[in-house]
């Protein structure tokens, strides 16, 4: 965050460090970059010195692509943009949406899905459809390592499927669908979910499924308590009814508050939960 020209690196309220600062729904700290930023490696995949950025569009859109080699493309209506590099290598691509709607597709929906990518900045633009945005299968290898926040759209099915999460922050306030969102996904730390609330979520089928997924029991137990707002006696947060949810092989604590919260979800709200059972 900047005040004038000064970078603010340690934000505190009193003596307590603040990890994020929002003005409205825009995160201003950490990271003030407005662009969506990711890196690609042209030597992999088809090996050609090019990258094809092929987002899905929903109506008029204007955006600028900084290809990472001192060249830019201003896009007004094209469905896709192809850039040729003079030499192979790793390039940092920045997307700056100035108006309209642009939905990223870096995973298997991209023609250059096999050129592994790492997303380093979510930016301030919020895609209207996040589903399959970073869905990596069949030779795709994607990484997410961002300090700012992705605001997931209503339909965010498959969004992070099969990628590797190094660092991620999410806002799920407007999200309704997370089917297979983290299927076969690994994360070095799943605690980013503890900063989310899910007031509108109606389905999370297969969300954490697949043997590769490493969603852990400690985070799961805390998440059950957090998402329900369990206060030891009852839930304090509003959630949708009849939600199917898959939490992989993570286990709740038998006799603990996570079991109470889980029982509330299934018995009172009619949820269908798949997990690793109790410990």
């Amino acid at each position: 965050m900047k005040i004038g020209n000064l970078d603010i690196t340690n934000v505190k309220i009193g003596t307590t460090a603040v990890s994020k600062v929002f003005i409205g729904s825009d995160q201003v700290y950490p990271n003030t970059d407005s662009e969506f930023i990711f890196k690609i490696n042209t030597s992999l995949g088809d090996g050609l010195n090019r990258y094809r950025f092929t987002p899905s569009h929903a109506g008029a859109v204007n955006y600028i692509i900084d290809w990472g080699d001192s060249s830019t493309t201003v896009v007004t209506s094209a469905v896709s943009s192809t850039h040729f590099y003079s030499t192979s290598g790793i390039y940092e691509i920045k997307i700056n949406v100035t108006s309209g709607i642009l939905n990223y597709q870096l995973g298997f929906n991209s023609p250059d899905y096999a050129k592994p990518f790492i997303v380093t900045n979510a930016g301030t633009y919020k895609p209207s459809v996040f589903s399959s945005a970073f869905y990596c299968i069949g030779g795709c290898a994607g990484f997410i390592n961002i300090a700012d926040t992705f605001f997931l759209s209503s339909n965010s099915n498959n969004c992070f499927q099969s990628i590797q999460i190094l660092n991620l922050n999410l806002n799920l306030d407007n999200c309704t669908k997370l089917n297979s969102a983290f299927r076969a996904t690994t994360s070095t730390d799943w605690s980013f979910l503890l900063d989310t609330d899910i007031p509108l979520i109606s389905t999370m089928s297969s969300m954490m499924s697949h043997s590769v997924n490493n969603f852990d029991s400690t985070t799961y137990q805390l998440l059950l308590i957090h998402w329900t707002g369990w206060n030891g006696t009852t839930a304090t947060k509003s959630l949708q009814s009849n939600v199917p949810a898959h939490f992989g092989s993570a286990q709740y604590e038998i006799g603990g508050q996570s079991e109470d919260a889980r029982n509330y979800l299934t018995s009172t709200l009619g949820w269908t939960i798949t997990d690793g059972g109790g410990i």
């Binding site: 299934t266 009619g270 269908t272 939960i273 798949t274 997990d275 059972g277």
Partner: protein, 68 residues
């Protein structure tokens, strides 16, 4: 609302879960090592996907008739 649990011991179990009015209706599978717990009143289990799909088409037709 009572809850029902499916805990496969030897192989994957396929299921259809639905509410009495069929407004909630979905299918899936539970692998060995996983546990499914649902608060929905109707749970049907199948040992293979084909049987499940046949039954699901019947239930979907039933739901279609209810909404016409």
């Amino acid at each position: 609302m009572a809850s029902t649990t499916i805990k496969p011991e030897h192989s994957t179990i396929y299921y259809i879960i639905y509410s009495n009015d069929l407004s909630v209706l979905f299918d899936g599978s539970v692998d060995v090592g996983n546990v499914l717990t649902t608060g929905q009143p109707n749970v049907e289990e199948f040992s293979n996907e084909e049987e499940m799909q046949q039954r699901l088409s019947v239930l979907e037709a039933e739901r279609e008739n209810k909404t016409i």
